[in-house]
Subunit: 134 residues, 4 copies
């Protein structure tokens, strides 16, 4: 992960938010889950600086899209009880995988917050598609 | 609990992980729930340094295998609401009991994270069996 | 404060860092001290995601350049004892004041970390000058 | 950084502690400052699980031996006020640098706590020498 790529991913997420009519925060973290970039759109919720980096962190350290964690952390799910302001376990966080040639590793993550969960996921996927076609 | 025993338990957990095809983190804590040893296998999730010690801590301070907490922390359960990143209430944490002759006391705990819950539990049990046959 | 302005200030800080030969992280916060944007340059220290937002936060909530806090927080100073990883009390944080016409209010802050203190301050001032000439 | 190397470094630190007559905790973290291994010797202080990983974290994110931070964080120093339970700014933490051929990067860190500062530093250096001659 590097800043130039993070900014291009962020731009893609914000363009998608405009299409969705949502105002969002976007975080990109590196392979160690440390923040590389963050942007909060005018008018986006103040929870963004907590939730967007939290989703990005969670997607990297658990190597899973946070949308997939929702059912796992629901009552009866394998990870029920995983919660807090560190692990954010609902949609909007996506891990970014290295090419198989480099080994199967997560090399960063994206987190989006501010819209509905469906909107956050769509914006995160727009960012991730920049990664996939880099 | 002492370091030499903690390392033998950790070794047993990691051997079990190899059999399971899992990559895990293993934490061992003492009777005060303070960390004695921790090991993260190559390629194991970055959540391990949070979740494995968390499961070990939880098993000691609640004197229960964390796998048994799922029903207690479910809606309607006695401990409903216990959640977060400090109390980790899903399988992989096991308290270690002193021999009855010494009084019924928890003298340490083990926590495993990184595989499926079933794998984590199997690895933690492999470690606990070292304790039982010490 | 808004995202567009925050990004222009960030760009100015990073250009200054290039002139200084420094690699930095830059945070911009709003009047409530909540993060608006963050960028970490390739190769900048991992402490940046903690220290740059921390300096920006501190400059807003105390309405002072963090460089001016050193004497206040020294033994015998009015704020002696203020320390930790929330209030960052060394140079690199600058509060942004609204025009007097709007009333004397802090409407945001900038925080820079990663270079020497002198470099961090120079980069933060470059960002602040964008604000002053907006 | 990997577990096998971390354990060899830890062993070297503990051997040095035996020579020093100290009882210590030893932490090794990876390039993202996440824990790879931790060991607390029988009888070592309960602060070890906080301070040893804290020193290792600090040495990685600030890319400096924590012994060098003592004067910087003293009254009048550039980083005065940096404190807390996240940044541990006294001796015992050492960053591990990659070979220049790989680029000038910190790829992990070691943290030792439990003895005098001089003993902690000696033990951390014993561990670091394993890295240098790997």
């Amino acid at each position: 992960m590097n800043l130039e790529l993070a900014l291009r991913m962020t731009e893609a997420a914000i363009k998608q938010a405009a299409r969705e009519g949502a105002t969002i925060s976007v975080a990109v973290v590196d392979q160690g889950a440390h923040l590389v970039s963050f942007q909060r759109m005018e008018g986006a919720e103040l929870s963004g600086p907590v939730l967007a980096p939290g989703k990005a962190y969670t997607s990297v350290v658990l190597r899973r899209a946070t949308a997939d964690l929702a059912s796992l952390t629901a009552p009866g799910g394998e990870l029920f009880g995983l919660a807090g302001d560190r692990f954010i376990c609902f949609g909007g966080g996506i891990p970014l995988w290295a090419d198989y040639g480099e080994g199967e590793r997560v090399i960063g993550g994206i987190g989006v917050s501010g819209g509905t969960i469906a909107q956050d996921v769509a914006c995160a996927e727009a960012a991730a598609s920049v990664w996939l076609t880099r």
